[in-house]
Amino acid sequence: MGDAIATEDLTKRFGAVEAVSGVALRVPERSVYGFLGPNGSGKTTTIRLILGLLRPTAGTARIFGHDIRRARLAALRAVGAVIETPALYDHLSGRENLEITRGVLGLKRSETDRVLELTGLTGAQRRRAGGYSLGMRQRLGLARALLGSPRLLLLDEPTNGLDPDGIQEMRGFIRSLPERTGATVFLSSHLLSEVEQTATHVGLISKGRLVLQDRLAELLGAGEATIRFGVDDPPRAAAALGAARRETVETGGGEIRVRLSPGADADADAGAINAALVNAGVTVFRIAPATRRLEDVYMRHAGAHATGGGDAHPPV
């Protein structure tokens, strides 16, 4: 499978400010790609560059191999997108908003019913969009993006304004899209948990630079499991493990986190570490697997950038 989105050295300057700098995205087909970054890090600008709504200062963006500047129509035929808060015609009903786009795309009338059903807006289709709640507007935007079953969906902060139930529903919906429709989803968010629960691939952007990009499973370090030991004397525990040639990842707060030996049986390895601690006179009162979280990955790669100044707020 190829890339749904591929950018090379994508750069955008607004006067003296470089909003996006040398971004090289690779979004594999049929993936859910979480594009993560703090507010103001360049996520929306990157999406607008990918869609050809902004002209890049340098670099290229391709959608399914079509250069967005040279073959704009071919590229956009495969795309549905919602950027920021969906732009809706408030004086028209939800259905009429969809009908406008359906008409331009030359789709059958039944397509409007399909996306209304899919997004749970069938009952509200005759109401003016101006009277919709933020969550309904978000769903109407999504419905519009889904018209024609595009191969690529670009969703900019899709859970903004949704209530907790709506957020869960939206996450499930997004996760299921590649399997149900074969679509690729490019999802931008400043919410670490959202990307962690939804994406198969992750790109981290900070201050306009793509600082990391990989499969989520790789980033969370499937082969680098660690175990947390609750102990009465963490420094003594660290010294004991050092003597036993075990790698201590983190010490503090009555805990010590120890890396398991690569390739070893996790249970047996944990038992061996426990034995080493007990033999050294350390009291162990808790043993728990310490799975790596996206937050750890983020803080390692982008945290310094994100909190180092400027207006950007780190993801939460």
Partner: protein, 248 residues
């Protein structure tokens, strides 16, 4: 694709305010005509009425209607922040803007077509109930239409400029100021008897046609052609400019 975009633009205009925008100017002229005739003690001739109403339309109502309707149609998109969605659809950018302009021009032609009818109806009704009785002389609607059509052709230039400004600026203040300014210059030209200096002023061209059609019909026709050609040139420049612009 052209037809699909056109029908999408027409769909966006489905709101009561559109009807108000389309009918306000002709109806205002008709209402004024009715009030004037009904209140008058002596019924004027149709020819005199047409002359006065032509000036009113060409100088004020037509340019200001173009200003208002272009701003109204553009605001539908600006207000909804609809450019992002509009321009990420698989349609040529130039076509998107050209169709928007075509819808505005069509709306203005509808207004232009309604104007003589509204004036004639107002005059007829006023004559029925006024003390002065019905208007005298031939109605001469066909000749009036001819003049109005020439004015509309000449007015394409100012219409195109108004559309350009309306689409370019997210705030309606800029195009409205432009429209008022354009009319003000024409008025100043008339007040200071410098009409010949505003012959090629886009907002003054329709008025110039109204002033010269009797004496110099060929000159009026030439001016209508200039307005038409200028309008088309402005529309082409507008679609090129806006297609290359980063719209927000």
């Amino acid at each position: 694709m052209l037809i699909r975009l056109f029908s999408a633009e027409l769909r966006k205009l489905r709101e009561p305010v559109t009807l108000l925008a389309l009918f306000a100017a002709p109806m205002l002229a008709g209402a004024l005509m009715f009030a004037g005739i009904a209140a008058g003690e002596r019924a004027p001739e149709w020819a005199d009425v047409w002359e006065g109403m032509t000036g009113f339309w060409m100088l004020l109502l037509a340019p200001l209607s173009a200003t208002a309707f272009a701003a109204f149609a553009a605001q539908i998109e600006h207000r909804a922040r609809g450019w992002d969605h509009q321009l990420m659809l698989p349609a040529p950018k130039w076509m998107t803007f050209a169709v928007k302009a075509a819808v505005v021009i069509l709306g203005l032609w509808v207004m232009t077509a309604l104007f003589p009818l509204a004036v004639a109806a107002g005059g007829w009704l006023g004559g029925q109930i006024g003390a002065g009785g019905p208007l005298t002389g031939q109605v001469g609607l066909a000749a009036f239409y001819r003049l109005i059509v020439l004015g509309a052709a000449a007015g394409l230039c100012l219409t195109a400029i108004q559309i350009w400004a309306s689409l370019r600026f997210a705030s309606f203040i800029a195009p409205v100021l432009l429209g008022f300014g354009g009319v003000a210059v024409t008025l100043a030209g008339m007040i200071f008897r410098q009409v010949d200096r505003i012959e090629l002023w886009p907002w003054g061209m329709p008025m110039w046609i109204a002033l010269t059609i009797e004496e110099y019909p060929q000159s009026a026709q030439r001016l209508a052609l200039y307005g038409l050609a200028g309008g088309l040139a402005v529309l082409i420049a507008m679609t090129l400019h806006l297609s290359r612009r980063e719209m927000r």
